[in-house]
Each structure stands twice: as C-alpha cells, then as structure tokens.
C-alpha cells in the first residue's frame, strides 16, 4: 500500500515563535504529511486488515501464549480516571490506581510463592535483567564479586543469555537429556564458585516439565548460586505450581502472555519481578507500598539497596491494570482452569497431530501448555522445510507456530494452542496440517511457493537486509 506520506495537502505556513533565537529553530517545513482525517482513518484501517491476529485467526505460536485477552480488561484499564493520570500526581490523588497496583503486587507474590514483587519492568527481558541484577547485588552484598557466570539450559530463549550479558555476566549452557530434563551431571560440572546462578523456564522451552527441578535447586543452592525463573511459560502451571516452591529465588512474569494484555504487534508488555525474602531489598523501584495515608509509591529512599530504576516511572501501568482486572475476574479457581485447559488443548492437539503423522520431539512426555514437533523426517523425504509448512498454514488462515525455536530440535515447530481455543478449532488445525503433509509428499512445490493467498507472496528477507530501505 501507498505510504501515509503520499497523503499530503498544503497547509498555510506558520510564523516563527517569538523569543527563541533563530539558531535554535527548525528551518523549512516539517517533512510530515498533512492528510485529512478520513485519509488517515482509511489508510490505517486498511492496513489493519492485512494482519493476522488472535481476533481473526488461530495463532498457535509457541512460547507466546496467543490467547484471548478479555476485552473487559482493556475497557477498564483505559478509563479516563486512569489514562489521564500524570505520574507526578501526588499519591493522594491516585489512590484508586495505587490500590489496584498494590493488590496486583500482593496477588502476584502469592501466585508465584515469592516474598515480594516489583511491578516496574517493562517486559520479560527487562524483568530478567532486573532478576540477574538482583542476584548480582545479592552476591556483592555478601562480598562475593567472583561470581561472574550465569548458567542457562541449552536452547533457552535468547533473552536469557542476552540479559545475563547485559548485567555483566558470562553465560554457560547446560545440555538436556533425551527426555528434555536437564543433564544433572553437566550441571554439576558447570557449577562452581564463579557461578552466580541459573536461569530456567519450567515447563522448559521444550514444553516439558523439568521433573528434577527440586534437585536442580538443591545443587545450585549448595554451590552458592541462585535460581532465576523465566515466567514466560507460567500459563502452563498457573495456580498449581509456585516457582517459589520449586526453589526459585527470583523470577519475572510476562503479563502480556499470561495475564490478559494483548501482544499489540510486539508490545507493550510487563515483566513484573518477584523474589524471595533474601532478594527483596534489591527489587527495582518504585514499588507500591502502604503508609498511614494510604497507598504510595516507594522509591530508593525507602529501599536504599534497590538495584534502582529500570524505567522512567512505576512500570507499564495500563498493562498492570489489565492483569489486575483479569485476576480479579477469574479468581484462584479460574486461574487453575487456565492451566488445566491450556494443558488439555496442548496434549489433545499433540495426540491428534501425531495421529496425522507428525513426530513429537519428546513423544514419551506429557506436553505442558505447548509441545515441539520435528519435521526432520519430512525434510529428509521431501525436501520440505518447517518454514515451508508454516508458510503454507497461512494460506488456510492459521498463523504459523514458532519455527526453529527451541534451536536444539532440528526443523522444529513449537505449538501452543492456549486454553481459549475450542476443540473445533484444534480439529480444523489438525485437518489442515494433515492436508499440508499430503501436499508435502505429493506436490511440494505448493509448499515451496507458499503463501499463495495473502496480500503478498513470500518476501525476500535477504534483499531487505541488503538494501536496508528502512525509512521512506
């Protein structure tokens, strides 16, 4: 489609403002367009129609929890009484908001089995950064600045090593065994006085629950390290297993995966962090507290050992409000239903896809809320790659599962149906996948050429990087 810049009507020029030296002013016209309101509305409405989205398509994108985010949470979070609030407003004029945030802080602390939480991180990755930073601060406070290494399981999400590096750590990977559990011997070999801690998700990025988690915790703790829980997969165990009980010392929650904030084409999110009592003093500020006058923002003045501020203000407030509304709506029982049906849908879908001929990466394991398939067999017999299969799925109005992640399974698909999809939708997905499998055998060209029915055909990503036309 034409760019918005093509919609440009001339408007009269403006006199330069008085009192500002010319040398500080912009010269010439501001090179933004001047469309009419209808032109803008049409342009972006039409653009929106070119997207896949949960509201229009099944979106079994592993590791992303693309579920239905109740619209009521949105409606309530954007109420004027919240949305027009400047962060510098005195606490007494924002008690309603602060009460919500405080309750959320309490609820998330309870839900994770931790001692305290801070709402400030803007997304999962920032939560991870906060987490490893707290672990760093903890060790330093103990006078131990030799712990410069963080462990992560092989195939962990990219943010894990990136966050550890950003907090100044080196990273070592621990392999897993054939059933997806961690190789404990490798862990033992890796542990040592230079290890600050380990970052894990559970269920892991393989979709399987790390059954030895208590033992892992014991060994890491014994070696003086701490455990960080990457909460991206929390939907799988919501209301059933608390990371604190598993032995984790710090964690983040991706509210935009588990708690009713939509992904919005890539954010905004919220990566609330929760920690054990030992790490509590280091939580990022501001935090929501209570004093004699009601609820308030607590700053570094209240928490001198805090790792500090990660963003300008107290976090993704509008996202936090959605999470608050969602938890309030569901209650403890409703949250347990989320994980139950997330697991049911995943395990049912896995069984049906296996029946359709697809190979599970971990066939002997129960799926968590998601599971990994390997299309290595297809590739070998037909030359069709995982990417071809998922591009073909788009033609049937189904979004692609995550491909080539986790990286340790060749030609993999990571499939996460979520609890809000109906059996009928899953069955349709299976039927389409079966059809694509037949196509792969009989007419692989169809797959190589896919997608066929979208606004554009397969895009040349290499050319994009070569030409690097990134502004118009």
């Amino acid at each position: 489609m034409e760019l918005i810049f093509g919609l440009d009507h001339k408007r009269p020029e403006r006199e330069p403002p008085e009192g500002i030296p010319v040398s500080l002013l912009r010269q010439g016209r501001l090179p933004l367009p001047n469309p009419s309101e209808l032109e803008v509305l049409r342009h972006y409405t039409r653009l929106s129609q070119q997207n896949f989205s949960v509201d229009t398509q099944f979106y079994p994108l592993g590791s992303c929890t693309m579920k239905y985010n109740p619209r009521i949470a949105h409606e309530l979070a954007v109420q004027r009484g919240f949305s027009r609030l400047h962060p510098a407003t005195p606490a007494r004029a924002q008690q309603g908001l602060l009460q919500c945030l405080w309750e959320l802080q309490e609820w998330l602390t309870a839900l994770t089995g931790m001692a305290a939480a801070s709402l400030t991180p803007a997304a999962g990755a920032q939560g991870e950064l906060a987490g490893v930073a707290m672990i760093r601060a903890y060790h330093r406070r103990l006078g131990d600045s030799g712990r410069t290494r963080f462990l992560i399981p092989q195939g962990a999400h990219g943010t894990n090593p990136a966050s550890a590096r950003m907090a100044g750590f080196d990273v070592s990977e621990i392999p897993c065994g054939p059933e997806g559990d961690m190789d404990l011997e490798a862990l033992d070999r890796a542990l040592g006085p230079d290890v600050a801690g380990i970052m894990l998700t559970n269920p892991s990025v393989l979709g399987t629950f790390e059954r030895q988690i208590a033992e892992v915790a014991r060994r890491v703790h014994a070696a003086g390290g701490l455990l960080y829980y990457d909460g991206a997969n929390l939907n799988a165990i919501l209301g059933r297993v608390k990371p604190g009980v598993m032995g984790f010392d710090a964690m983040h929650l991706n509210l935009h995966k588990t708690f009713a904030t939509p992904h919005g084409g890539g954010g905004p999110g919220s990566g609330v962090v929760a920690v054990s009592a030992a790490l509590e003093p280091y939580l990022p500020v501001p935090r929501v507290g209570r004093d004699s006058c009601g609820w308030c923002w607590e700053t570094r003045r209240n928490h001198p050992d805090s790792i500090g501020q990660l963003g300008g203000y107290g976090g993704s407030v509008a996202v936090l409000l959605r999470a608050h509304a969602y938890i309030r709506r569901l209650g403890a029982k409703g949250l347990r239903r989320v994980s139950a049906y997330a697991a049911l849908n995943a395990n049912y879908l896995l069984k049906e896809l296996q029946r359709a001929g697809y190979l599970a990466a971990f066939p002997q394991r129960r799926a968590g809320h998601e599971f990994v398939l390997s299309l290595q067999d297809l590739r070998e017999t037909t030359g069709v790659r995982a990417l071809d299969v998922v591009k073909r799925l788009l033609d049937f109005g189904i979004h692609a599962p995550t491909v080539y992640f986790p990286q340790l399974v060749p030609e993999c698909l990571l499939v996460e149906p979520t609890e809000t999809e109906s059996r009928a939708t899953l069955d349709r997905f299976v039927a389409v996948m079966a059809k694509i499998r037949r196509e792969a055998m009989e007419t692989p060209e169809i797959l190589f050429g896919a997608p066929h029915h979208l606004p554009v055909k397969r895009l040349d990503e290499a050319l994009a990087a070569r030409r690097l036309e990134v502004a118009g």
């Binding site: 997207n51 790792i307 300008g312 049911l344």
Partner: protein, 456 residues
C-alpha cells in the same frame, strides 16, 4: 461468555483422546510436592461486578488540568488514534515474525521509523524501545560498542532529567560503565563546558539534551561542536513536539549528532500514571549494525510486489543471543501504532499548531506567575513548553493546595532532589487554555496572600 469454550462433553472426549480421566491428571509428571492451590487470591467475580468495582477505582482519580511534564505530557489525542490502534487486528497480533501475515503492523512500523527520521533528520530509526530513559541507556551502550577505542564512560549532563539519569545508573552500572557528570550553571539552567576539554578518561560519548531540566533550551550547536572537537559521539535527547519547532539533531553543530533518542509518549500515548510509554532511537546509517531493537525494511515478494519485513535480526537476542545489541524482545508495538496514527491524524500542521500553542501558553503562564509578588524565575533562557519557577512557599504544599482547584500544578523539583523548596517545574500543552492559566495564577496569588496574612 466464558473465555474457555469447552463444555463437559468436549472436555471428556478430549481427555479420552489423551488417555486420561481428569484434568488434574494432565499434571501427573509434576511431583505432587510441588503442586498447591493459591488460596490468597479472592474468588472470581462476574464481568459486571468487575466493571463496577473498577469504575469506582478509576473515579477516585480526580480530573485535573495538567501542568506537569518532565518528559511526558498531556497532549491532545484525536479520537481516531485509539479507535484504530485498538482494532483487534493491531491489538491482538504478535510481533511480525511472519511478514506475509503482518503487513499491517509492518508497514505501520516502517512509517513510524520514517516519521522519526523525518522529525530528527537522522538516517535510521528503530521501531521503539521501552521508554525514553531506556532508549538513552541503549544509546549509551551502542555508543560504547561503536567506540571500543575509548574508555567505558559517558558524559552525562547535569541538565538531564534525574529519573533518566537514575535509569542510566542502573543499567550502565551493571556493566560498571562510568557516568561523568557535566555541570550546570544554576543561574542559566544550561551546561557548563570544561574550559580545557576533556581530561584523560576519554569517554565514548556525550549526551546532549535539547531542553534542560529547568525547561531552558540548550545551545545545542555549541555543545555539539565542542563534543565533535573532543572526538566524542553525540547522543541527542529530544522530545517530539519540541522537534516540530526546534532544530533537528541532524543539524546540530557541524556534523550533526550520531544518535538521537527521546520519549515518544506525547505522540498519542495516554499518560496512564507512568506507562507504558515508548522510546525512540535514531542513528546514522553507518551505525545501524549496532542499533538495538526491531527494525523494519522494505523488500519485495517473489512476484516483485513491495512488502515489509523485520530486518537485521542478527543484531537481536533471538538470533545473536548473548551477543545481541540488546536483550530487548517485546517492545512497544501497539504504542508505535498509536504514535504513527497520531502523527498522521495531526499531520505536520497539527503537530506544529499544538507545539506553537503549548509554547505560547507556557510563555504566558511564566509571565503571569512572575507578575505575582514573591514569585521568581529561576533561569532566563528561552523555553519551549516548560519552565521552572521559584515560589515563596514549598512547591509540594502548593501542588497539594492546587489539587483542590482541579489543577496539577507541576513537578516540585525537590521530588527529584533538586533545586530549592519552592521550585516547581511547570508545563503547558494545547489542552489548556488561557482561562486555565489565569485560574492557576489566581490560585497561587490567593494562597500566597493567605500565607502572607497568616505570617503577619
């Protein structure tokens, strides 16, 4: 009504397929000792009860005329901005990793990048970072990667917002990067450059805010030129409405800056008590491989039709992992969409109209306040939409008192641990009108009057 569709029959059939007889059995691989309930969370409530409760909570925040700024501002948001950004197809899409199914989001991000390059004059903009302060932190890390020949240090001006500096301290502190403070002249609210140039520590870059903490416009050319002479990379900090009126960073000094960052919240993103907001980061073309965050590029499909996709993903954590240019993954997609629509909806003319009006109101309010006996200016320099003023009573007290008049009076500088007791940072936007200014001034006059009476 329900969010989970399954009825008992469907559940039973599906469980049978899996070979289990209860939902709880789905968790049979998880050691029993690890499983528990969450008793601390109250029972769920209906959507209607929830609405009632949350409407009550929202109503507890009074409707205030907003004179607070400090980097985030209450500008007018046209009705169509969230009307469109809130459409399901934008609202409930994922990061556009599958470009063929995401042209809507991708083109919008591309247009955002284009708007930011047009506002700043820079070559390349990413598609958002978490907020202004983190964008600045990322810019510093980027500068250090670009200048590995230099010390791991950054020149940080004392005129930078304190909360921005706090974020630099947290993030850069983790890598033991040094923040070298450039002092401010409290009389002018502007930076003082060291007479002799830099000492031996040789930082990699210098941060140059277009507008200082007291609202005073910096002499960006002089600062940039000096930094050029010192061989420093220049990181500009700008605000989008100000850029509609002021010189774009590409023109600062002799050679323009290397990186420009800022908080894009004023572009259609509600204040929402502190977030989510969105940072922007723009740079020169030759620095692009060190750029953090997502980047969208134009390309063609196999039939030669134009389309858009994410590009240079090898910079990002999901490919480069520990060696990525940043750990950022989820950024501020929907807010980018809103900001892009906002710029379209206002257009160049609307953006400038709002900038001009905000400026006019700020200048007028400044003079109304300075006319009040006992009220003093802090710095004399030219301003854009914000200025600091010194009241003869504590700014926090006045802020509190003005709430009763339905006015959020500004930011007491002491909240940031700066200035004197009576110092307040006051901002205007086009949402205010002349009557609001007069009511502000009248309320101050009245309170000061009372104060004088009480003291006499």
């Amino acid at each position: 009504m329900p969010y989970i569709p399954h009825d008992p029959d469907e559940t039973a059939v599906m469980l049978a397929t899996v070979g289990l007889d209860s939902l709880d059995a789905l968790f049979d691989e998880i050691p029993a000792a690890l499983q528990c309930d969450v008793l601390e969370i109250p029972d769920g409530i209906s959507e209607r009860a929830l609405r009632r409760e949350m409407e009550h909570r929202a109503a507890q925040q009074p409707d205030l005329r907003c004179f607070a700024g400090g980097g985030v501002y209450a500008h007018h948001i046209p009705a169509l901005v969230w009307e469109i950004a809130g459409r399901g197809e934008f609202y409930s899409a994922y990061t556009p990793y599958q470009p063929e199914a995401s042209q809507g989001t991708l083109q919008t991000l591309y247009e955002f990048q284009s708007c930011i390059t047009r506002l700043t004059g820079m070559d390349i903009s990413n598609a958002s970072l978490h907020d202004g302060p983190t964008a600045l932190a990322e810019a510093c890390l980027m500068a250090l990667r670009l200048r590995q020949d230099r010390n791991r240090a950054i020149l940080v001006p004392a005129t930078l917002w304190p909360h921005w500096r706090a974020v630099l301290e947290t993030i850069l502190g983790l890598q033991d990067i040094q923040l070298v403070l450039l002092p401010m002249d409290p009389g002018t609210g502007r930076l003082i450059l060291p007479e002799q140039g830099l000492d031996e520590r040789e930082p990699a870059a210098m941060i140059i805010p277009q507008i200082g903490i007291f609202g005073v416009l910096e002499d960006v050319d002089t600062l940039s030129l000096w930094a050029e002479q010192q061989g420093l990379l220049r990181i500009a900090v700008c605000s989008p409405y100000a850029l509609a009126m002021l010189k774009p960073p590409v023109e600062w000094g002799e050679r323009g800056v290397d990186i420009a960052v800022g908080e894009a919240q004023p572009l259609g993103v509600p204040l929402s008590g502190g977030g989510p907001y969105l940072g922007f980061l723009a740079c020169r073309r030759d620095h692009v491989r060190q750029l953090p965050g997502r980047l969208v590029a134009k390309t063609v499909d196999r039939e030669g039709r134009e389309g858009y996709c994410l590009t240079l993903q090898a910079r990002e954590q999901h490919i480069r992992r520990g060696k990525a240019t940043s750990n950022i993954c989820t950024s501020q997609g929907l807010l980018v969409t809103a900001a892009t629509i906002h710029m379209g909806a206002l257009g160049a003319d609307g953006l400038q109209q709002a900038a001009w009006e905000s400026h006019r109101l700020a200048v007028r309010l400044q003079s109304l306040l300075l006319d009040i006996p006992g009220v003093q200016g802090t710095c004399p320099g030219p301003i854009f939409q914000e200025f600091a003023v010194r009241f003869p009573l504590p700014a926090r007290y006045l802020q509190d008192r003005l709430l009763e008049a339905g006015i959020l009076a500004g930011i007491p500088l002491q909240d940031w641990g700066m200035g004197e007791d009576g110092d307040m940072l006051v901002a205007c936007t086009e949402l205010l009108d002349d009557q609001d200014l007069e009511e502000y001034a009248a309320a101050i006059r009245q309170i000061l009057q009372e104060g004088r009476l009480a003291w006499n």
